[in-house]
Symmetry: C2
Subunit: 204 residues, 2 copies
DNA sequence: GTCTATATACAGATAGAC
DNA sequence: GTCTATCTGTATATAGAC
């Protein structure tokens, strides 16, 4: 059991939590070291710079996204996948109310600064957008799929911001119901034919 | 002409711009002093702390919101007011793409830290929410008005975040069109009766 | 009222003993 | 691989001359 990996993982986990709670810039290496129970000077053995820690955290978020998409893809059809995404988006609402969306927050904060960290954070939302578009396309919604995905992700991110701003998880619940109805209307009658098309497109 | 006021105003204006560009925490008093062409040490004659500058900036944003609502209220009916809000939301998109929403950004950043600054920033979005709800109510949409306002503001904030994240103003344009259609459907046939109700409710 | 010089604190990062 | 001590820069904030 290599302690090296162990400490590295602990540092990333600590950084992930702290960056969500305080933001990237407001999180100090001392904070991270303390939370991970690693001496400050030792942090630099595992990460050359603070930015390198940020990078590792975003990679971890990316892995979590991938895992999440895999779970969602287990649903029987695209409509249920999108509904499952909505369901997923209202888990841990207490955390969201306190600290906002971990990914949206990073995009907001790092986007102002530019650089490669910003791009890596943006890729997370891009992946979510692409995944959503794929579902709409599988539902046979064609050229509208990109707009629908934009609408969905935009809505989720927006309600996260308001939930955080007003520290009220109920807002996200209310909005999730609205989005559910929106999806129901949009996909009315499409589900079965869609799941067929979806398989075809996956083969192609 | 009191120079005192002049410098104070210059400091607030500089801080407003810089905080939008870099965020509150990443904006230093030295930055603000330089941008306003005021010596660093002199800043403290006008503001006791950095937080006091933040407060003044938020007050300025609040004043701009009030002014904006006044302009929007000049429209002939609630539907046109909401459409005017959408129109307003896609002005200065280059700036939004670069730095995100000035108000949403503050709510996100300060919300993590808590304190009175966070509350003051949140009040800005709260006012927007209330104004929107008033318009929907005037359209005769009753108990649904709160949800519709939440949906609208959430959408605007969400698309701001994505526009910023992907540095692409076109995203906001696309979504504004979608929201316009949404409003049209929602208010179909309601406009005239609504403008009557709206007058009644203003008198009441 | 205005501005220079500086106190104080703490950030990221490094050196080098073990 | 690990950790202490510390360098260096820079932030907020203050003191005090003008």
């Amino acid at each position: 059991m290599p302690r090296k990996t162990d400490k590295r993982v602990r540092l990333i986990d600590a950084a992930k939590v702290l960056i969500h709670q305080k933001g990237f810039n407001q999180t100090t290496l001392a904070d991270i070291a303390q939370e991970a129970d690693v001496p400050l000077g030792n942090v630099y053995y595992y990460f050359k710079t603070k930015e390198a820690i940020g990078e590792a955290v975003i990679e971890k978020r990316a892995a979590e996204f991938t895992e999440c998409f895999s779970k969602l893809d287990e649903e029987t059809d695209p409509k249920n996948r999108l509904l499952a995404l909505l369901q997923f988006s209202i888990e841990d609402l207490e955390l969201t109310a306190r600290y906002g969306c971990p990914v949206g927050g990073l995009c907001q904060e790092l986007g102002k600064q530019g650089g490669s960290l910003a791009d890596q954070a943006a890729k997370l939302l891009h992946d979510l957008l692409m995944w959503s578009e794929t579902q709409f396309r599988s539902l046979g919604l064609g050229e509208k799929s990109a707009d629908l995905a934009l609408n969905l992700v935009s809505n989720i991110q927006g309600i996260y911001l308001l939930t955080h701003t007003f520290k009220d998880p109920k807002l996200a619940i209310r909005q999730a119901k609205v989005l559910e109805e929106w999806l129901e209307k949009l996909t009315a009658g499409r589900t079965s034919s869609a799941s067929i098309r979806q398989v075809t497109s996956e083969v192609a």
